[in-house]
C-alpha cells in the first residue's frame, strides 16, 4: 500500500523509507514513541502532507499525487485528533453533511434536506453504529467529550469509506469512555479497513489485528499484538519507556 515513503522537515527525516501494507478489512495500529513519525506517515496517507519520496496506493490505485478530496472520493475517510465537528448543528445534521459530502447536494436550493431519505438513512445508520441514536436531535456543543469522539468516528462512517484512518480516537477520554469507544470500533463492519494511531496501548492491543511499530521514521517491528507485546526491541524503545 505505501512503499518506501520518506518525508523531511528541514534537516529532520521524519519518515525514512517506511513501508506499510495493509490487507483489506484489517485493523492496523501504528505505534511508536513521540516523534517516531506516526502522525507524519498518517498525514502522508490522508494527503495532508506530500511525501518527498515513495508511493501510496489504496485499493490498487496510485494516490500519491491526489488531493484530500480526491482520496475521500476513492473511499478514504479519517477522524481528527482534535474533534472537527459542526458544534452548533445537531448530531443528525453533522452526520447528514458527512453522508451527503459526495452527493452533489450542496447546490439544491428549494427542497428540504430532510426529504433526502436515503442520505438521512445513511446518517441514522452511522449514528446507530456509534451509539448516538438517542442524541440525533441534540446540538453537538451539548454533548460530552466522549460522545463527540464517538460522533467523530460516526462522521467517518457516514461517508461510507472503505478505509478509515483514526487519529488518536481516544484522545482525552476517560477510561470508561475509552472502553465504550474501543468496543464500538471493534464492532465496525469488516468491510472497512482501519488504520489507527493511538497512545493507549491497552486499546491498541485490544483492537488491532496487526501492529506496526515506528521509531525515528522507520518501521522496526511488525506483528500480531501478542508478538509485539513480547518483542524485546519494541519493549526497549517504546513499551519500556511507559511500563518500566
Amino acid at each position: 500500500m505505501a512503499t518506501s515513503l520518506s518525508r523531511n522537515f528541514g534537516g529532520v527525516q521524519a519518515v525514512r523509507s517506511a513501508d506499510l501494507k495493509v490487507p483489506v478489512g484489517e485493523r492496523r495500529a501504528l505505534i511508536g514513541p513521540n516523534g517516531a513519525g506516526k502522525t507524519t506517515l498518517f498525514n502522508i496517507i490522508t494527503g495532508e502532507l506530500a511525501p518527498d519520496a515513495g508511493k501510496i496506493e489504496i485499493f490498487g490505485i496510485d494516490i500519491t499525487k491526489k488531493t484530500v478530496q480526491e482520496r475521500a472520493k476513492l473511499g478514504l475517510g479519517r477522524t481528527y485528533q482534535i474533534s472537527q465537528l459542526f458544534l452548533n448543528l445537531t448530531v443528525e445534521e453533522n452526520l447528514f453533511l458527512a453522508a451527503a459530502a459526495d452527493q452533489g447536494m450542496e447546490f439544491h436550493f428549494l427542497s428540504s434536506w430532510r426529504v433526502r431519505s436515503k442520505l438521512i438513512q445513511w446518517a441514522h445508520r452511522s449514528a446507530e453504529q456509534v451509539n448516538l441514536t438517542p442524541y440525533l436531535s441534540q446540538r453537538v456543543s451539548e454533548l460530552s467529550h466522549g460522545l463527540q469522539r464517538q460522533l467523530e468516528v460516526g462522521m467517518a462512517i457516514a461517508m461510507r469509506p472503505r478505509l478509515i484512518m483514526l487519529d488518536e480516537p481516544a484522545a482525552g477520554l476517560s477510561p470508561s469512555e475509552r472502553l465504550i469507544l474501543a468496543g464500538l470500533i471493534k464492532g465496525l463492519s469488516r468491510e472497512v479497513t482501519l488504520i489507527l494511531i493511538e497512545h493507549d496501548m491497552e486499546m491498541v492491543l485490544g483492537i488491532a489485528d496487526w501492529i506496526t511499530v515506528l521509531q525515528r521514521g522507520s518501521v522496526i517491528a511488525e506483528g500480531v499484538p501478542s508478538e509485539i507485546r513480547t518483542n524485546q526491541k519494541v519493549q526497549d524503545v517504546y513499551l519500556g519507556t511507559i511500563y518500566a
Partner: protein, 330 residues
C-alpha cells in the same frame, strides 16, 4: 426558523398577515410609507442577516448592491426611458455581475480580512458614486424616478406600491425560508461552523460561499429597486458607510441568528427612527443609546427574549463569531 409551531401561532400569523394586507384601509399614508421603508430596508437587512446568520460572513458591501440597483433604475428608467421590467432585470443583472466580481475575490478570505475587504468594496462604490459627475451626477444623484404602471395599475399610488412591495417581500421571505431548510442552507451552516472540515469532506466551500454572496446581493438589489421607486431619488448618501453600519445594527438588534431577526430589527429600527425624530432633533443620540442598551442586555437580539422564556439558551453562533473575532485581533 420555524414559520409556525402550532395552530394558535398559525392563527396569530394569519391575523398579522391580514392586518398588514389591509393596512392602507385603516392607517394613514405616512404609516403606509413607513411600512414600505421597513420592507425595502428589510430586504437589505435580510441580505446582511442571511450572510451572518447562515454563513457566518459579516459583509459591509451589501449596501453597495442596494445602491447599484437604484442607480441602474435611475440611469435606464428615469434618464433613458427603458420600460419596466427590462430596467429592473438589468438592475438585478448588474448586481449579480458586481457580486460575482467582488465575491470571487472576497471569498478567498475569512473573518476579519473578509470584513475589511468588503468594507473596501463598499467604500470604493460610494467614492465612485460621489465623484463621478458625468454619469452619476456626483452627490446630487439621480432624481425623478417613478414606479411603473402595469396593467392599468398605477404603482405611483402609495397603497398600490405598498401591496406590490408586501407581495415581493413575502415571496422573498418564503424563498429565503426554503433556502435555509435546503441542503444548500445546511452546507452554509456547516461552513459557518467549520469551513475546514467542510472542505475536508469534499464540499466546494469557495463556490458555496460565492453563491450565497450572489443570493444575498440579489436581496439587497431588490430592496434597492423598491427604495429608489419609493423615494424617487438615488444619491451616494444611500450607500454611505453610516447606512451600512445602520443596517448591521438593525440585524444585530433583531438577532442575526434568528430567521425573523433582520425583519424584526428593521421594523423596530425604522419605527424608532420615526417616533423619536418626532420628539427630539437629537434622535440619533437617543437611538444610539438604545442600541447600546440592547447590545449590552440582549446581545443576541430582541428575538432572544422569546427564546430565553422557553429555555436556558447557550451562546449564539453570532456571539461566538464576534468573540472569535476579538480573539483573532489579539
Amino acid at each position: 426558523m420555524i414559520l409556525w409551531k402550532d395552530r394558535r401561532q398559525l392563527v396569530l400569523e394569519a391575523i398579522a398577515g391580514g392586518l398588514l394586507i389591509l393596512l392602507p384601509f385603516y392607517a394613514g399614508e405616512y404609516t403606509v410609507t413607513t411600512f414600505v421603508r421597513i420592507i425595502y430596508f428589510g430586504f437589505l437587512a435580510l441580505s446582511v442577516g442571511m450572510l451572518i446568520g447562515q454563513a457566518g460572513m459579516i459583509s459591509l458591501t451589501q449596501t453597495a448592491f442596494f445602491g447599484l440597483a437604484g442607480y441602474v433604475i435611475g440611469l435606464l428608467g428615469a434618464e433613458r426611458d427603458m420600460p419596466f421590467p427590462w430596467r429592473d432585470l438589468v438592475a438585478i443583472g448588474a448586481v449579480l455581475v458586481m457580486a460575482l466580481t467582488f465575491g470571487l475575490i472576497a471569498m478567498r478570505t475569512h473573518k476579519i480580512v473578509f470584513l475589511m475587504i468588503t468594507l473596501a468594496f463598499g467604500q470604493i462604490c460610494w467614492a465612485f458614486a460621489q465623484q463621478n459627475t458625468s454619469l452619476l451626477h456626483g452627490w446630487a444623484g439621480i432624481r425623478g424616478i417613478r414606479p411603473p404602471t402595469i396593467g392599468g395599475i398605477n404603482f405611483n399610488q402609495t397603497s398600490n406600491f405598498y401591496w406590490a412591495s408586501l407581495l415581493i417581500f413575502a415571496l422573498g421571505i418564503f424563498v429565503l425560508w426554503l433556502l435555509a431548510k435546503s441542503p444548500f442552507g445546511l452546507a452554509l451552516n456547516g461552513i459557518r461552523e467549520n469551513p475546514r472540515r467542510m472542505a475536508a469532506l469534499g464540499y466546494p466551500v469557495y463556490w458555496i460561499r460565492v453563491v450565497a454572496f450572489l443570493i444575498a446581493a440579489v436581496y439587497a438589489g431588490v430592496g434597492g429597486i423598491l427604495a429608489t421607486y419609493n423615494t424617487g431619488i438615488i444619491t451616494p448618501t444611500t450607500i454611505h458607510l453610516s447606512r451600512t453600519i445602520w443596517v448591521l445594527l438593525m440585524v444585530i438588534l433583531g438577532g442575526a441568528t434568528y430567521f425573523w431577526g433582520p425583519v424584526v430589527g428593521t421594523a423596530i429600527a425604522v419605527w424608532l427612527d420615526v417616533l423619536i425624530s418626532q420628539g427630539t432633533v437629537r434622535y440619533n443620540t437617543v437611538i444610539g443609546v438604545i442600541f447600546v442598551m440592547i447590545v449590552l442586555f440582549l446581545p443576541e437580539g430582541v428575538l432572544s427574549i422569546a427564546d430565553s422564556l422557553g429555555e436556558g439558551g447557550s451562546l449564539s453562533p453570532l456571539r461566538r463569531l464576534l468573540d472569535r473575532k476579538i480573539a483573532d485581533k489579539r
